[in-house]
């Protein structure tokens, strides 16, 4: 199976967007222990930060939930290897046009370009490996920082 041709190549940026103050208003900044039991709580916290701000509509919610589930599960399972002493740090911030979600783990990173294409003939019948494709298609921006340990997800607000 070949690499995902539609994925943007990973950018080698070493400054974490978690700390950068130049991004808009922070509406959520919180860390969770690396435990899959907490994943739903993390997803709900992000949705609760974005829905009252009017940045999402009803159709956005299931799609965002899928993307968050994917990002948080990857950070907990593959990044921090479910080591509860390692946090997953989450920041949600807004500018006038878009919302941004950053999730950062403390693992060894990964190479998103090495994930095989799930839409090839073999990939279609595979029983895993579709998460990145869904995120890349629905989000306006999906960027990895720090060798894959930090993920930034962004999309235009629903009413724009």
């Amino acid at each position: 199976m070949g690499a995902v041709s539609s994925l943007r190549p990973p950018r080698r940026i070493t400054v974490s967007p978690l700390a950068a103050p130049r991004f808009g208003d922070t509406v959520l900044l919180r860390s969770w222990a690396s435990d899959l039991v907490l994943k739903q709580e993390m997803i709900d916290a992000v949705l609760e930060a974005l829905v009252p701000a009017g940045y999402l509509d009803g159709d956005d919610e299931p799609m965002l939930a899928i993307c968050l589930d994917e990002a948080f599960a990857n950070a907990i399972r593959h990044g921090n290897k479910q080591d509860r002493t390692k946090p997953v740090d989450v920041r949600v911030f807004l500018d006038d046009e878009r919302w941004f979600v950053v999730a950062e783990d403390h693992g060894e990173g990964f190479d998103p370009s090495a994930v095989p294409d799930p839409t090839t003939e073999a990939g279609l019948m595979a029983e895993s490996g579709r998460g990145l494709r869904i995120m890349n298609a629905w989000l306006d921006q999906l960027t990895y920082y720090r060798d894959g340990r930090t993920i930034l997800m962004a999309r235009r607000r629903a009413d724009r």
Partner: protein
């Protein structure tokens, strides 16, 4: 795993209607139960004609798509057919971007899907 309420089965003149009662097809214990129950049905009923009613599902994860593919393959292997019925329109993009919209057969209405499979001959 016992105690997880995921599916309800109903026989309708040779077609098995499996209604997903879990609103979130997300977490692995739920997904494993989902797959195991449907695998057991496919094993017990070769050439199973299956309507998977997902109208109650509001969220699913990429892992859920993997389980759907696993069930689809199992049904095909045993000579059966499967229709995914009642998918919420908000979830369709997930199937489109993964090209699974070309793999699965969809029907908006579960009852109409049952009729369609009843007509299908093997």
């Amino acid at each position: 795993m016992a105690g997880i309420d995921v599916l309800r089965f109903e026989e309708r003149d040779g077609v098995l209607m499996a209604r997903v009662v879990a609103e979130r097809l997300v977490d692995l214990p739920v997904l494993d139960e989902f797959r195991d129950q449907l695998f057991a049905q496919a094993t017990a009923r070769p050439k199973m004609r299956l309507v998977l009613d997902v109208s109650a599902v509001t969220y699913l994860s990429s892992s859920a798509l993997g389980k759907l593919v696993a069930v689809f393959k199992k049904v095909k292997e045993t000579g059966g057919a499967m229709i995914v019925a009642g998918l919420k329109p908000a979830l369709l993009p997930v199937f489109k971007v993964t090209s699974l919209d070309k793999v699965f057969e969809f029907h908006a209405d579960p009852t109409a899907a049952v009729l369609e499979l009843q007509r299908k001959r093997f």
